[in-house]
Subunit: 253 residues, 2 copies
Protein backbone atom coordinates (compact mmCIF):
# COMPACT_ATOMS: atom_id res chain seq x y z
CA UNK A 1 0.00 0.00 0.00
CA UNK A 2 1.35 3.38 -0.98
CA UNK A 3 0.39 6.03 1.56
CA UNK A 4 -1.00 9.42 0.57
CA UNK A 5 -1.69 12.63 2.46
CA UNK A 6 -4.09 15.08 0.79
CA UNK A 7 -3.55 18.76 1.54
CA UNK A 8 -6.77 20.65 0.94
CA UNK A 9 -10.44 19.78 1.33
CA UNK A 10 -12.13 21.36 -1.68
CA UNK A 11 -13.78 19.79 -4.74
CA UNK A 12 -10.63 18.21 -6.19
CA UNK A 13 -9.47 16.89 -2.80
CA UNK A 14 -12.88 15.37 -2.14
CA UNK A 15 -13.07 13.72 -5.57
CA UNK A 16 -9.55 12.31 -5.23
CA UNK A 17 -10.32 10.96 -1.78
CA UNK A 18 -13.51 9.25 -2.96
CA UNK A 19 -11.75 7.78 -6.02
CA UNK A 20 -9.08 6.19 -3.86
CA UNK A 21 -11.35 4.85 -1.12
CA UNK A 22 -11.51 1.40 -2.72
CA UNK A 23 -8.00 1.28 -4.14
CA UNK A 24 -5.93 -1.80 -3.35
CA UNK A 25 -2.65 -0.06 -4.09
CA UNK A 26 -3.01 3.42 -2.64
CA UNK A 27 -4.42 4.59 0.66
CA UNK A 28 -5.15 8.12 1.84
CA UNK A 29 -3.97 8.16 5.47
CA UNK A 30 -4.67 11.82 6.28
CA UNK A 31 -6.39 14.94 5.00
CA UNK A 32 -5.21 18.42 5.98
CA UNK A 33 -7.06 21.69 5.78
CA UNK A 34 -6.23 25.01 7.39
CA UNK A 35 -9.88 25.55 8.31
CA UNK A 36 -11.09 22.80 10.63
CA UNK A 37 -14.75 23.12 9.63
CA UNK A 38 -13.94 22.21 6.02
CA UNK A 39 -12.79 18.79 7.20
CA UNK A 40 -16.26 17.69 8.31
CA UNK A 41 -16.75 15.41 5.31
CA UNK A 42 -13.51 13.57 6.09
CA UNK A 43 -13.59 13.35 9.89
CA UNK A 44 -15.34 9.99 10.17
CA UNK A 45 -13.44 8.49 7.24
CA UNK A 46 -9.76 9.24 7.79
CA UNK A 47 -7.33 11.02 10.11
CA UNK A 48 -7.56 14.81 9.67
CA UNK A 49 -5.54 17.78 10.85
CA UNK A 50 -5.41 21.56 10.63
CA UNK A 51 -1.74 21.86 11.50
CA UNK A 52 1.03 21.32 8.95
CA UNK A 53 3.29 20.26 11.83
CA UNK A 54 1.04 17.27 12.48
CA UNK A 55 1.27 15.94 8.94
CA UNK A 56 1.94 12.21 8.90
CA UNK A 57 4.82 10.79 6.97
CA UNK A 58 3.60 9.45 3.62
CA UNK A 59 4.96 8.38 0.25
CA UNK A 60 2.90 10.90 -1.71
CA UNK A 61 1.59 14.36 -0.77
CA UNK A 62 -1.13 15.83 -2.98
CA UNK A 63 -1.56 19.60 -2.75
CA UNK A 64 -5.14 20.14 -3.94
CA UNK A 65 -4.95 23.87 -3.28
CA UNK A 66 -5.69 27.20 -4.91
CA UNK A 67 -2.95 28.31 -7.34
CA UNK A 68 -1.72 31.18 -5.22
CA UNK A 69 -0.91 29.17 -2.09
CA UNK A 70 0.71 26.08 -3.67
CA UNK A 71 4.27 27.37 -3.49
CA UNK A 72 4.03 28.61 0.09
CA UNK A 73 2.46 25.40 1.39
CA UNK A 74 4.98 23.28 -0.55
CA UNK A 75 7.79 25.13 1.18
CA UNK A 76 6.22 24.56 4.61
CA UNK A 77 5.91 20.78 4.36
CA UNK A 78 7.73 19.03 7.20
CA UNK A 79 8.45 15.93 5.11
CA UNK A 80 10.19 16.90 1.91
CA UNK A 81 11.66 13.64 0.62
CA UNK A 82 8.34 12.23 -0.60
CA UNK A 83 6.80 12.73 -4.03
CA UNK A 84 4.76 15.95 -3.82
CA UNK A 85 2.10 16.82 -6.38
CA UNK A 86 -0.06 19.80 -7.12
CA UNK A 87 -3.35 19.60 -9.05
CA UNK A 88 -3.39 22.94 -10.88
CA UNK A 89 -3.71 23.41 -14.62
CA UNK A 90 -2.37 26.94 -14.51
CA UNK A 91 0.65 26.34 -12.30
CA UNK A 92 4.06 25.16 -13.48
CA UNK A 93 5.88 22.21 -11.96
CA UNK A 94 8.46 24.80 -10.86
CA UNK A 95 6.10 25.98 -8.10
CA UNK A 96 7.36 22.88 -6.25
CA UNK A 97 11.02 23.51 -7.02
CA UNK A 98 11.92 23.58 -3.30
CA UNK A 99 11.19 19.84 -3.26
CA UNK A 100 13.38 17.05 -4.57
CA UNK A 101 10.59 14.89 -6.04
CA UNK A 102 7.76 16.84 -7.59
CA UNK A 103 4.88 16.26 -9.96
CA UNK A 104 1.54 17.46 -11.27
CA UNK A 105 -1.75 15.57 -11.29
CA UNK A 106 -4.18 17.86 -13.11
CA UNK A 107 -7.75 16.61 -13.55
CA UNK A 108 -9.10 18.55 -16.50
CA UNK A 109 -12.73 19.08 -15.69
CA UNK A 110 -15.08 21.74 -14.42
CA UNK A 111 -16.14 20.95 -10.86
CA UNK A 112 -19.14 22.36 -9.07
CA UNK A 113 -20.63 21.43 -5.76
CA UNK A 114 -24.10 21.25 -7.32
CA UNK A 115 -23.32 18.56 -9.89
CA UNK A 116 -21.79 15.10 -9.67
CA UNK A 117 -18.96 14.13 -12.03
CA UNK A 118 -17.89 10.61 -13.01
CA UNK A 119 -14.20 10.89 -12.17
CA UNK A 120 -13.25 7.76 -14.12
CA UNK A 121 -14.00 9.72 -17.32
CA UNK A 122 -12.07 12.84 -16.33
CA UNK A 123 -8.76 13.19 -18.25
CA UNK A 124 -5.81 13.47 -15.90
CA UNK A 125 -2.68 15.26 -17.12
CA UNK A 126 0.48 14.17 -15.35
CA UNK A 127 4.08 15.37 -15.17
CA UNK A 128 6.97 14.59 -12.80
CA UNK A 129 10.59 15.71 -12.59
CA UNK A 130 11.96 12.17 -12.95
CA UNK A 131 10.85 9.13 -14.97
CA UNK A 132 10.41 6.82 -11.99
CA UNK A 133 8.04 9.21 -10.24
CA UNK A 134 6.21 9.79 -13.50
CA UNK A 135 5.54 6.03 -13.62
CA UNK A 136 4.31 6.06 -10.02
CA UNK A 137 2.13 9.06 -10.82
CA UNK A 138 0.71 7.27 -13.84
CA UNK A 139 -0.09 4.22 -11.71
CA UNK A 140 -1.86 6.46 -9.17
CA UNK A 141 -3.78 8.34 -11.88
CA UNK A 142 -4.99 5.14 -13.50
CA UNK A 143 -6.67 4.25 -10.19
CA UNK A 144 -8.66 7.47 -10.48
CA UNK A 145 -9.42 7.71 -14.19
CA UNK A 146 -9.28 5.69 -17.40
CA UNK A 147 -7.81 8.66 -19.26
CA UNK A 148 -4.26 9.62 -18.31
CA UNK A 149 -1.98 11.82 -20.43
CA UNK A 150 1.65 12.84 -19.97
CA UNK A 151 1.66 16.60 -20.49
CA UNK A 152 4.61 18.87 -19.70
CA UNK A 153 4.30 22.27 -17.99
CA UNK A 154 4.38 24.28 -21.20
CA UNK A 155 1.73 22.06 -22.81
CA UNK A 156 -0.37 22.22 -19.65
CA UNK A 157 -0.39 26.02 -19.67
CA UNK A 158 -1.59 25.97 -23.25
CA UNK A 159 -4.13 23.29 -22.47
CA UNK A 160 -5.43 25.48 -19.67
CA UNK A 161 -5.98 28.43 -21.98
CA UNK A 162 -7.61 26.10 -24.55
CA UNK A 163 -9.93 24.95 -21.75
CA UNK A 164 -10.89 28.56 -21.08
CA UNK A 165 -12.12 28.80 -24.67
CA UNK A 166 -13.97 25.47 -24.90
CA UNK A 167 -15.49 25.72 -21.41
CA UNK A 168 -15.56 29.20 -19.83
CA UNK A 169 -16.12 31.08 -23.08
CA UNK A 170 -18.50 28.50 -24.56
CA UNK A 171 -20.47 28.81 -21.33
CA UNK A 172 -20.54 32.58 -21.75
CA UNK A 173 -22.08 32.03 -25.20
CA UNK A 174 -24.83 30.08 -23.42
CA UNK A 175 -25.31 33.02 -21.05
CA UNK A 176 -25.88 35.39 -23.95
CA UNK A 177 -28.31 32.90 -25.50
CA UNK A 178 -30.20 32.66 -22.23
CA UNK A 179 -30.37 36.46 -21.93
CA UNK A 180 -31.87 36.78 -25.40
CA UNK A 181 -34.44 34.13 -24.50
CA UNK A 182 -35.38 35.84 -21.23
CA UNK A 183 -35.90 39.24 -22.83
CA UNK A 184 -38.15 37.66 -25.47
CA UNK A 185 -40.10 35.37 -23.14
CA UNK A 186 -38.77 32.20 -24.77
CA UNK A 187 -38.07 29.10 -22.61
CA UNK A 188 -34.27 28.61 -22.67
CA UNK A 189 -34.82 24.84 -22.56
CA UNK A 190 -35.68 24.98 -26.28
CA UNK A 191 -31.94 25.50 -26.83
CA UNK A 192 -30.74 22.71 -24.51
CA UNK A 193 -30.68 19.89 -27.10
CA UNK A 194 -28.83 22.17 -29.53
CA UNK A 195 -26.16 22.95 -26.93
CA UNK A 196 -25.59 19.27 -26.14
CA UNK A 197 -25.67 18.24 -29.79
CA UNK A 198 -23.22 20.99 -30.77
CA UNK A 199 -20.73 19.80 -28.14
CA UNK A 200 -21.15 16.15 -29.08
CA UNK A 201 -20.85 16.83 -32.78
CA UNK A 202 -17.62 18.77 -32.29
CA UNK A 203 -16.13 15.84 -30.37
CA UNK A 204 -17.19 13.43 -33.11
CA UNK A 205 -16.41 15.16 -36.38
CA UNK A 206 -14.22 18.02 -35.07
CA UNK A 207 -15.29 21.65 -34.65
CA UNK A 208 -14.00 22.78 -38.04
CA UNK A 209 -16.22 20.31 -39.93
CA UNK A 210 -19.07 20.89 -37.46
CA UNK A 211 -19.28 24.65 -38.05
CA UNK A 212 -22.66 25.81 -39.35
CA UNK A 213 -24.59 29.10 -39.33
CA UNK A 214 -24.89 32.43 -41.16
CA UNK A 215 -21.21 33.36 -40.64
CA UNK A 216 -20.02 30.09 -42.16
CA UNK A 217 -22.47 30.47 -45.07
CA UNK A 218 -21.59 34.16 -45.33
CA UNK A 219 -25.33 34.92 -45.27
CA UNK A 220 -25.16 38.71 -45.00
CA UNK A 221 -28.91 39.23 -44.99
CA UNK A 222 -29.34 37.09 -41.85
CA UNK A 223 -26.22 38.59 -40.24
CA UNK A 224 -27.51 42.12 -40.74
CA UNK A 225 -30.96 41.21 -39.45
CA UNK A 226 -29.42 39.61 -36.35
CA UNK A 227 -27.54 42.85 -35.66
CA UNK A 228 -30.78 44.76 -35.29
CA UNK A 229 -31.97 42.32 -32.61
CA UNK A 230 -28.91 42.60 -30.34
CA UNK A 231 -27.76 44.98 -27.61
CA UNK A 232 -24.62 47.00 -28.29
CA UNK A 233 -22.53 44.65 -26.17
CA UNK A 234 -23.93 41.54 -27.88
CA UNK A 235 -23.34 43.15 -31.28
CA UNK A 236 -19.66 43.60 -30.50
CA UNK A 237 -19.26 39.89 -29.71
CA UNK A 238 -21.41 38.86 -32.67
CA UNK A 239 -19.29 40.97 -35.00
CA UNK A 240 -15.87 39.71 -33.93
CA UNK A 241 -16.92 36.04 -33.88
CA UNK A 242 -18.71 36.29 -37.22
CA UNK A 243 -15.61 37.84 -38.75
CA UNK A 244 -13.39 35.13 -37.21
CA UNK A 245 -15.58 32.35 -38.64
CA UNK A 246 -15.70 34.08 -42.03
CA UNK A 247 -11.90 34.48 -42.04
CA UNK A 248 -11.38 30.84 -41.11
CA UNK A 249 -13.92 29.25 -43.43
CA UNK A 250 -13.75 31.85 -46.20
CA UNK A 251 -10.29 30.54 -47.04
CA UNK A 252 -11.87 27.21 -47.87
CA UNK A 253 -14.38 28.51 -50.42
Amino acid sequence: MISIVIIGAGNVATHLFKSLENSENFRVIQVYNRTKEHLNFFNDKVDTTSSLNDLKEAEIYILALKDDVIEAVANSLPHNKALTLHTSGATSLDALKGLERRGVLYPLQTFSKNKEVDFTEVPICIEANNPKDEDLLEQLSLEISKKVYRIDSSQRQNLHVAAVFVSNFANYMYTVGEDICKVNDIPFEILHPLMIETAEKATKIGPFAAQTGPAKRNDLEVINRHHTLLTEKQQEIYKILTKSIQDLHGKEL
Copy 2:
Protein backbone atom coordinates in the same frame (compact mmCIF):
# COMPACT_ATOMS: atom_id res chain seq x y z
CA MET B 1 -55.24 10.25 -42.81
CA ILE B 2 -54.10 13.80 -43.41
CA SER B 3 -52.12 14.07 -46.64
CA ILE B 4 -48.81 15.94 -46.88
CA VAL B 5 -46.59 17.02 -49.75
CA ILE B 6 -42.99 17.86 -48.87
CA ILE B 7 -41.28 20.47 -51.03
CA GLY B 8 -37.50 20.01 -50.79
CA ALA B 9 -35.24 16.99 -50.34
CA GLY B 10 -32.50 18.20 -47.98
CA ASN B 11 -31.73 17.26 -44.38
CA VAL B 12 -34.92 18.65 -42.87
CA ALA B 13 -37.14 17.18 -45.58
CA THR B 14 -35.51 13.76 -45.15
CA HIS B 15 -35.86 13.82 -41.35
CA LEU B 16 -39.51 14.89 -41.58
CA PHE B 17 -40.26 12.16 -44.11
CA LYS B 18 -38.65 9.47 -41.94
CA SER B 19 -40.44 10.71 -38.82
CA LEU B 20 -43.82 10.44 -40.52
CA GLU B 21 -43.29 7.07 -42.20
CA ASN B 22 -45.04 5.20 -39.39
CA SER B 23 -47.62 7.82 -38.50
CA GLU B 24 -51.23 6.68 -38.30
CA ASN B 25 -52.62 10.17 -38.73
CA PHE B 26 -50.43 11.80 -41.35
CA ARG B 27 -49.11 10.47 -44.62
CA VAL B 28 -46.56 12.02 -46.97
CA ILE B 29 -48.00 11.38 -50.44
CA GLN B 30 -45.35 13.16 -52.53
CA VAL B 31 -41.89 14.76 -52.34
CA TYR B 32 -40.85 17.50 -54.75
CA ASN B 33 -37.37 18.70 -55.58
CA ARG B 34 -36.24 20.90 -58.46
CA THR B 35 -33.20 18.67 -59.02
CA LYS B 36 -34.27 15.14 -59.91
CA GLU B 37 -31.09 13.47 -58.63
CA HIS B 38 -31.73 14.73 -55.12
CA LEU B 39 -34.89 12.63 -54.99
CA ASN B 40 -33.03 9.30 -55.15
CA PHE B 41 -33.59 8.59 -51.46
CA PHE B 42 -37.35 9.01 -51.89
CA ASN B 43 -38.00 7.36 -55.26
CA ASP B 44 -38.74 3.86 -53.98
CA LYS B 45 -40.69 5.12 -50.97
CA VAL B 46 -43.17 7.69 -52.25
CA ASP B 47 -44.32 9.51 -55.36
CA THR B 48 -41.77 12.16 -56.40
CA THR B 49 -41.71 15.01 -58.89
CA SER B 50 -39.46 17.78 -60.18
CA SER B 51 -42.27 19.90 -61.55
CA LEU B 52 -44.36 22.20 -59.39
CA ASN B 53 -47.20 21.77 -61.90
CA ASP B 54 -47.36 18.07 -61.05
CA LEU B 55 -47.84 18.64 -57.33
CA LYS B 56 -50.62 16.50 -55.93
CA GLU B 57 -53.46 18.00 -53.99
CA ALA B 58 -52.82 17.61 -50.26
CA GLU B 59 -54.04 18.99 -46.95
CA ILE B 60 -50.61 20.24 -45.88
CA TYR B 61 -47.60 21.45 -47.90
CA ILE B 62 -44.27 21.64 -46.09
CA LEU B 63 -41.66 23.89 -47.71
CA ALA B 64 -38.36 22.52 -46.37
CA LEU B 65 -36.32 24.96 -48.43
CA LYS B 66 -33.47 27.43 -48.14
CA ASP B 67 -34.57 30.80 -46.72
CA ASP B 68 -34.10 32.74 -49.93
CA VAL B 69 -36.42 30.65 -52.12
CA ILE B 70 -39.31 30.11 -49.68
CA GLU B 71 -41.33 33.12 -50.80
CA ALA B 72 -40.91 32.46 -54.52
CA VAL B 73 -41.85 28.78 -54.27
CA ALA B 74 -44.81 29.60 -51.99
CA ASN B 75 -46.14 31.95 -54.65
CA SER B 76 -45.78 29.29 -57.36
CA LEU B 77 -47.78 26.59 -55.62
CA PRO B 78 -50.71 25.42 -57.78
CA HIS B 79 -52.85 24.51 -54.75
CA ASN B 80 -53.14 27.46 -52.44
CA LYS B 81 -56.08 26.60 -50.21
CA ALA B 82 -54.17 24.05 -48.11
CA LEU B 83 -52.16 24.77 -44.98
CA THR B 84 -48.65 25.66 -46.14
CA LEU B 85 -45.66 25.60 -43.79
CA HIS B 86 -42.05 26.62 -43.99
CA THR B 87 -39.33 25.19 -41.73
CA SER B 88 -36.98 28.16 -41.35
CA GLY B 89 -35.88 29.73 -38.09
CA ALA B 90 -34.78 32.94 -39.73
CA THR B 91 -37.85 33.55 -41.91
CA SER B 92 -41.03 35.29 -40.83
CA LEU B 93 -44.47 33.77 -41.28
CA ASP B 94 -45.08 36.71 -43.64
CA ALA B 95 -42.93 35.05 -46.30
CA LEU B 96 -46.07 32.97 -46.95
CA LYS B 97 -48.43 35.95 -46.97
CA GLY B 98 -49.64 35.13 -50.51
CA LEU B 99 -51.37 32.09 -49.01
CA GLU B 100 -54.57 31.99 -47.02
CA ARG B 101 -53.50 29.36 -44.48
CA ARG B 102 -49.88 29.57 -43.45
CA GLY B 103 -47.62 28.30 -40.70
CA VAL B 104 -44.11 27.57 -39.53
CA LEU B 105 -42.69 24.24 -38.35
CA TYR B 106 -39.14 25.02 -37.27
CA PRO B 107 -37.06 22.14 -35.90
CA LEU B 108 -34.38 23.78 -33.78
CA GLN B 109 -31.33 21.61 -34.22
CA THR B 110 -28.04 21.52 -36.10
CA PHE B 111 -28.24 18.97 -38.89
CA SER B 112 -25.28 17.41 -40.65
CA LYS B 113 -25.17 14.60 -43.11
CA ASN B 114 -22.35 12.94 -41.14
CA LYS B 115 -24.25 12.56 -37.88
CA GLU B 116 -27.61 11.01 -36.98
CA VAL B 117 -30.06 12.96 -34.82
CA ASP B 118 -32.91 11.57 -32.72
CA PHE B 119 -35.73 13.68 -34.08
CA THR B 120 -38.10 12.87 -31.22
CA GLU B 121 -35.85 14.99 -28.96
CA VAL B 122 -35.58 17.95 -31.34
CA PRO B 123 -37.64 20.94 -30.16
CA ILE B 124 -40.14 22.07 -32.79
CA CYS B 125 -41.30 25.68 -32.81
CA ILE B 126 -44.68 26.20 -34.40
CA GLU B 127 -46.78 29.16 -35.51
CA ALA B 128 -49.85 29.51 -37.72
CA ASN B 129 -52.01 32.41 -38.81
CA ASN B 130 -55.19 30.96 -37.30
CA PRO B 131 -55.89 28.96 -34.13
CA LYS B 132 -57.41 25.95 -35.91
CA ASP B 133 -54.36 25.47 -38.11
CA GLU B 134 -52.09 25.99 -35.12
CA ASP B 135 -53.86 23.04 -33.46
CA LEU B 136 -53.41 20.93 -36.60
CA LEU B 137 -49.77 21.95 -36.76
CA GLU B 138 -49.31 21.00 -33.12
CA GLN B 139 -50.85 17.60 -33.78
CA LEU B 140 -48.49 17.08 -36.72
CA SER B 141 -45.45 18.23 -34.74
CA LEU B 142 -46.22 15.89 -31.86
CA GLU B 143 -45.95 12.98 -34.32
CA ILE B 144 -42.38 14.08 -35.02
CA SER B 145 -41.11 15.21 -31.63
CA LYS B 146 -41.99 15.14 -27.95
CA LYS B 147 -41.03 18.82 -27.62
CA VAL B 148 -43.33 21.29 -29.32
CA TYR B 149 -43.46 25.02 -28.53
CA ARG B 150 -45.72 27.76 -29.81
CA ILE B 151 -43.35 30.58 -30.81
CA ASP B 152 -44.36 33.65 -32.82
CA SER B 153 -42.30 35.16 -35.66
CA SER B 154 -40.66 37.81 -33.53
CA GLN B 155 -39.71 35.27 -30.85
CA ARG B 156 -38.45 32.88 -33.51
CA GLN B 157 -36.09 35.49 -34.95
CA ASN B 158 -34.66 36.10 -31.50
CA LEU B 159 -34.44 32.38 -30.85
CA HIS B 160 -32.49 32.04 -34.06
CA VAL B 161 -29.91 34.61 -33.01
CA ALA B 162 -29.71 32.99 -29.56
CA ALA B 163 -29.02 29.70 -31.35
CA VAL B 164 -26.15 31.35 -33.21
CA PHE B 165 -24.54 32.13 -29.86
CA VAL B 166 -25.10 28.78 -28.13
CA SER B 167 -24.25 26.70 -31.19
CA ASN B 168 -22.29 28.45 -33.95
CA PHE B 169 -20.24 30.64 -31.63
CA ALA B 170 -19.77 27.96 -28.95
CA ASN B 171 -18.50 25.73 -31.75
CA TYR B 172 -16.08 28.44 -32.80
CA MET B 173 -14.72 28.44 -29.22
CA TYR B 174 -14.04 24.73 -29.72
CA THR B 175 -12.19 25.55 -32.94
CA VAL B 176 -9.89 27.96 -31.13
CA GLY B 177 -9.30 25.33 -28.42
CA GLU B 178 -8.44 22.75 -31.04
CA ASP B 179 -6.02 25.17 -32.75
CA ILE B 180 -4.18 25.80 -29.49
CA CYS B 181 -3.93 22.04 -28.93
CA LYS B 182 -2.61 21.40 -32.44
CA VAL B 183 0.11 24.03 -32.19
CA ASN B 184 1.26 22.57 -28.87
CA ASP B 185 1.04 18.91 -29.84
CA ILE B 186 -1.73 18.16 -27.32
CA PRO B 187 -4.46 15.63 -28.21
CA PHE B 188 -7.70 17.64 -28.51
CA GLU B 189 -9.60 14.65 -27.09
CA ILE B 190 -8.35 15.66 -23.63
CA LEU B 191 -10.85 18.52 -23.87
CA HIS B 192 -13.82 16.45 -25.08
CA PRO B 193 -15.24 15.54 -21.65
CA LEU B 194 -14.93 19.17 -20.57
CA MET B 195 -16.89 20.34 -23.61
CA ILE B 196 -19.71 17.85 -23.00
CA GLU B 197 -19.76 18.49 -19.25
CA THR B 198 -19.85 22.28 -19.77
CA ALA B 199 -22.88 21.98 -22.06
CA GLU B 200 -24.66 19.54 -19.75
CA LYS B 201 -23.95 21.63 -16.67
CA ALA B 202 -25.35 24.76 -18.30
CA THR B 203 -28.57 22.91 -19.14
CA LYS B 204 -28.86 21.64 -15.57
CA ILE B 205 -27.94 24.59 -13.34
CA GLY B 206 -28.08 27.39 -15.95
CA PRO B 207 -25.06 29.08 -17.58
CA PHE B 208 -24.90 31.93 -15.09
CA ALA B 209 -24.43 29.61 -12.10
CA ALA B 210 -22.20 27.31 -14.17
CA GLN B 211 -19.65 30.01 -15.05
CA THR B 212 -16.12 29.22 -13.84
CA GLY B 213 -12.63 30.33 -14.85
CA PRO B 214 -10.12 33.13 -14.40
CA ALA B 215 -12.45 35.84 -15.76
CA LYS B 216 -15.19 34.89 -13.28
CA ARG B 217 -12.65 34.77 -10.42
CA ASN B 218 -11.05 37.97 -11.71
CA ASP B 219 -7.68 36.17 -11.53
CA LEU B 220 -5.52 38.78 -13.26
CA GLU B 221 -2.29 36.83 -12.95
CA VAL B 222 -3.68 33.89 -14.93
CA ILE B 223 -5.43 36.21 -17.40
CA ASN B 224 -2.17 38.06 -18.11
CA ARG B 225 -0.23 34.82 -18.48
CA HIS B 226 -2.82 33.46 -20.90
CA HIS B 227 -2.42 36.58 -23.03
CA THR B 228 1.24 35.79 -23.65
CA LEU B 229 0.29 32.35 -25.02
CA LEU B 230 -2.22 33.53 -27.62
CA THR B 231 -2.05 34.84 -31.17
CA GLU B 232 -3.16 38.42 -31.75
CA LYS B 233 -6.51 37.27 -33.11
CA GLN B 234 -7.07 34.90 -30.15
CA GLN B 235 -6.07 37.69 -27.74
CA GLU B 236 -8.76 39.96 -29.15
CA ILE B 237 -11.47 37.33 -28.52
CA TYR B 238 -10.02 36.44 -25.10
CA LYS B 239 -10.06 40.09 -24.09
CA ILE B 240 -13.62 40.91 -25.06
CA LEU B 241 -15.08 37.72 -23.56
CA THR B 242 -13.07 38.06 -20.35
CA LYS B 243 -14.32 41.63 -19.99
CA SER B 244 -17.91 40.53 -20.67
CA ILE B 245 -17.71 37.81 -17.99
CA GLN B 246 -16.10 40.26 -15.53
CA ASP B 247 -18.80 42.85 -16.21
CA LEU B 248 -21.56 40.30 -15.75
CA HIS B 249 -20.26 38.53 -12.66
CA GLY B 250 -18.46 41.51 -11.15
CA LYS B 251 -21.80 43.11 -10.43
CA GLU B 252 -22.61 40.19 -8.17
CA LEU B 253 -19.59 40.53 -5.89
